[in-house]
Amino acid sequence: MRLLTHNMLSSNIKGVTNGFPLRIEVEKVVEKSVDFNPDFLKNMFAKIEYKALVEASRIMGYAELPDHAEPSMLESDDFLRKFHHALMELHLEEGTLVCPETGRRFPVNKGVPNMLLHEDEV
């Protein structure tokens, strides 16, 4: 699971008002290289919740992303590359995603999160 995906995931358990972001518990992180594409990154920058990305990347062991970001920083190649690395190249291979409201744990195995709910949670 990439942080791009994590930035989109939200706990959809019944009764939860804000299930985003899911807290990450790391067991295994893998880095996989992805082609660098500035246009895509700029498109994504507008969508993502940057603060959640920074926190998640730190938990995954990458501390290079600045705490705050402005759209103007997208002109900087240095920032774009760090953004690219955090968003696209860090994979949570094994771990858990935790709902911020209920504490419900969603497992991540072999890079695949399982977000299915139990009958009593829908």
Partner: protein, 364 residues
Amino acid sequence: MVLGIASASRFYFKRGFGHSSVIRSSFCSLRSSSDMKEVSSDKGSSGSALAGGDSPALPPVKVGASLRSPSSVVQSTPEIEKKYVHRVYDAIAPHFSSTRFAKWPKVSAFLNSLAAGSLVLDAGCGNGKYLGLNPNCYFIGCDISAPLIKICADRGHEVLVADAVNLPYRTGYGDAAISIAVLHHLSTERRRRKAVDELIRVVKKGGFVLITVWAREQEDGALLNKWTPLTQKYLEEWVGPGSPRVRSPSSPLTLESIPEAEENGSREQLKEFTDKYTDLRSLQLRHLHMNSQAADLSLASLTKKGCEDQQEFFVPWHLPYHRAEVSGASANAVASGLAKKDDKKGAVVYNRYYHVFSEGELEK
């Protein structure tokens, strides 16, 4: 929506990332018996989450069927889907995947028409046939079948296990969403409607959604005869509104009583069978996106489907004996009545539930 990105640079999301791009054969891996246990649809690795992992803040657990609120009736999975969709696809996953290679032209055209750099969400992605089809877009797929998702993950795609009726995505994140041959597996109109609502919710305002389902009206009317209609008795027991009922052991709803559908044993014949169903109701829901924020979908009244207007079917899937998975999960399936053996055709026959869409139904 303004199409076109000025930059001419192409980029690729490498599938495999240094893995070989050869699809790793799943023939040797037997499905674990846990797939065939009588569990709710959210099986798989989340099964252990019930034991002690949950915080005390969770509401009390068991609710009787009659106490369920309308919204939970929509979202909790009806028995017919568990038996005739989820368990079947889990059991046949590798075989099913090996037959899903032909890409439907309308879907390809839609995906290739999207702006470069789009984020595309595939809800019910199956074996990931369409993931990465447009190399200029980024795809995230989900499916309720963990074995099918595993096949996608082995090919290097970004995927997760989730329910199309309740997508775990933030609102308005995607640029486009697709639902290809998925909605017809949902057994009630409310669930189908909810799944459509979800597709619209997860894309941004002005984004595109493509939904493809099997149509009742086929060019070759004789093909419908190959499918097994659910009789009125089954419609009452399984598909009617209200809480799903537990299937009693003495219920006649075993596959013995359903007439055998026609032969489609070999892989070549299966491909032919699939290709014939090109008359699909592909629908671009572009116009709904003018109101995607308002989510202005008024509920049509539930229509009761009479026998003469048959739309609920069992469609057979013949899983040949020589497929390794037959000895594992399918032995259980035959024993529990989910499937039956056909020695004449050399295959285990599963029935999959489909609601086929009549003309105009999808637009409602």
